[in-house]
């Protein structure tokens, strides 16, 4: 590992004198940004090197394959699929399936997780179901769902939903149960009502944990889209993978994988950004200590 020690940030100056808090915060934010750029550059160079190597190995040793595609072939597949609008159709189809299922999972998961803390009976009643459904492999039930709900949008969205909803429920539940009791006591002492306890304390305190759940749900949702489209679809990135495999065309598979990774990574990073924005106290408290 090259020169690991130099990447450890120098300890930020700790000062509580009036006015210096904001300044040192700004400084602390600027420095990692420069580091992030240089790290992104190094990462980009590393990936570019890998791609070149891949192309070389392919040209020198493989030359022709129905299992492996070279970077150039993938680019060619892109140039073939993109202008006709076919690629866009796949992207849009998968994107819409994902978004519907994912947003539904968020809309259901957060209230359910929160209510399970508020209501012990609901918790007892739901827990075995959650454990049961969570343990059911989606790959196994996907064909059934498609038979039941047709090959349109909603069977796919449902499979995405089934994958994404559990991290949301479980993280919301965990986040809410881990809220320090004295925060609740403060609001109670000031005469706050039960709904206010939820809105003013439990949700904001649990927010970082909930956001982590939303991030974990992205990956499971993306897998859901692909699996769902394997079993019956006429468009989508998962369909593109399946169809291309059937006709022994590896390049579009790689293309689809590329976009799936790009999408999953993008959504994950975006939510991480939102998390830091919504809960600055959470990350900054760690930095400060």
């Amino acid at each position: 590992m090259p020169d690991h020690a130099s990447r450890v940030p120098a300890p930020a100056p700790l000062s509580l004198a009036a006015g210096s808090g904001a300044r040192s915060r700004r400084r602390a934010r600027r420095r990692p940004l420069g580091r992030a750029w240089s790290e992104a550059l190094k990462g980009g160079a590393s990936i570019a090197g890998g791609i070149v190597l891949w192309q070389l190995v392919f040209d020198l040793f493989i030359k022709h394959s129905i299992f492996v595609a070279s970077p150039a072939q993938i680019v060619r597949a892109f140039l073939l699929l993109a202008p006709s609008g076919e690629l866009w159709l796949h992207l849009r189809t998968s994107g819409v399936e994902f978004l519907n299922g994912y947003l539904l999972a968020v809309a259901v998961g957060i209230p359910v997780g929160a209510l399970m803390v508020a209501n012990a009976r609901l918790n007892n009643w739901l827990t075995p179901w959650i454990a049961f459904i969570y343990s059911t492999p989606r790959v196994a039930v996907a064909p059934l769902l498609i038979v039941w709900f047709g090959i349109g949008l909603w069977s796919k969205a449902l499979i995405v939903f089934l994958g994404a909803v559990f991290p949301v429920i479980l993280n919301t539940y965990t986040g809410v149960t881990q809220v320090p009791l004295n925060y609740l006591e403060v609001v109670r002492s000031l005469g706050g009502s039960r709904p206010q306890l939820f809105i003013k304390v439990l949700l904001p305190a649990a927010l970082p944990t909930i956001m982590t759940g939303l991030r974990l749900a992205v990956g499971r949702g993306v897998i859901g889209v692909v699996v769902a489209e394997w079993y019956g679809a006429n468009a989508g990135l998962g369909y593109l993978v399946y169809f291309s495999a059937q006709v022994f065309q590896p390049a579009p598979i790689y293309l689809a994988i590329f976009f799936l990774v790009l999408f999953g990574y993008g959504a994950f990073a975006l939510l991480g950004f939102v998390q830091r924005r919504l809960a600055p106290w959470h990350t900054q408290r760690l930095e400060a200590s």
Binding site: S189, R285, S289
Partner: protein
């Protein structure tokens, strides 16, 4: 002085999980607090001081007896009572000013108006310039000042303070005591202040109430006749030291007794 708060024959027990029987914390506690009086409660650790304040605030129920605030029964928490908690209980996702206005916000005061009113209290506890800081950016002393401001802004009838300075270092603690008295001089609330530091109790109080070990009864009530305002130097006066000696000897006996009764209990 008219009576502000009256506690009559208060009984409270906690059911322990193991024995399934209720072990008394209070059996027949009586206390009368006058309007604008500053009461300090001292007593051995675990005797029920926190429990007492929580009952007065309405946070936990009691078994029997009566608690009257201005002649009215206390049943639930509310903004007629302000509670300053022992450990930092600031909400970490709220800035200083948003922590201070929490009570107003919960009772429907528009944010703008609440923030305007907060200005006075920010000033009062000496936190100008820190309104938009987050709690983690504040020192322990500053955090406790926010706690105090949060309890003061709702203009409570009684202020209940549970060892608010216990976690501060000695110097900060002294400054906070001085400032608390200054603030109190301006607002003149009825205060019940729990501490395990006798010196702190004598310095702050009009009257020091000594709790016995559990089940707690009032072992003594000592009026403190030191003139106000009290500079910190008063702590070195012979009169002050005499109070300390007197109260310490009472507590010592209680602590010994409770140690003998519950071997291994922290003191």
């Amino acid at each position: 002085m008219p009576t502000k708060l009256e506690i009559k024959d208060l009984c409270k027990g906690f059911t322990s999980l193991r024995s399934e029987q209720s072990l008394p914390v209070f059996s027949g506690l009586e206390l009368r607090v006058a309007e604008n009086e500053f009461i300090c409660i001292v007593g051995p650790s675990g005797c029920g001081k926190t429990t007492f304040l929580r009952i007065l605030d309405g946070l936990i129920p009691f078994d029997s007896g009566e608690i009257l605030l201005d002649g009215q029964r206390v049943i639930k928490p509310g903004i007629d009572k302000g509670f300053v908690f022992q450990d930092s209980s600031l909400l970490p996702w709220r800035t200083v000013v948003d922590n201070i206005i929490l009570g107003l916000e919960l009772h429907g005061t528009p944010r703008r108006e609440a923030r305007a009113r907060a200005r006075h209290y920010v000033e009062l506890v000496g936190l100008r310039g820190f309104e938009n800081h987050y709690p983690y950016e504040l020192s322990g002393g500053m955090q406790q000042r926010v706690n105090l401001a949060r309890a003061l802004i709702i203009e409570p009838q009684v202020l209940l303070m549970d060892e608010p300075f216990a976690s501060l270092d000695a110097q900060t603690r002294e400054i906070m005591q001085l400032e608390l008295l200054k603030t109190w001089g301006g607002t003149r609330k009825t205060v019940l202040f729990v501490t395990h530091q006798i010196e702190e109790a004598v310095y702050l109080a009009d009257r020091v109430v000594v709790f016995s070990s559990r089940p707690a009864t009032i072992k003594a009530e000592i009026p403190i006749e030191l003139t106000r305002p009290r500079p910190l130097a008063v702590k070195r006066s012979p009169q002050f030291l005499a109070y300390i000696d007197r109260i310490w000897s009472m507590i010592e006996a209680e602590v010994r007794r409770s140690m003998l009764e519950q071997p291994g209990a922290e003191v």
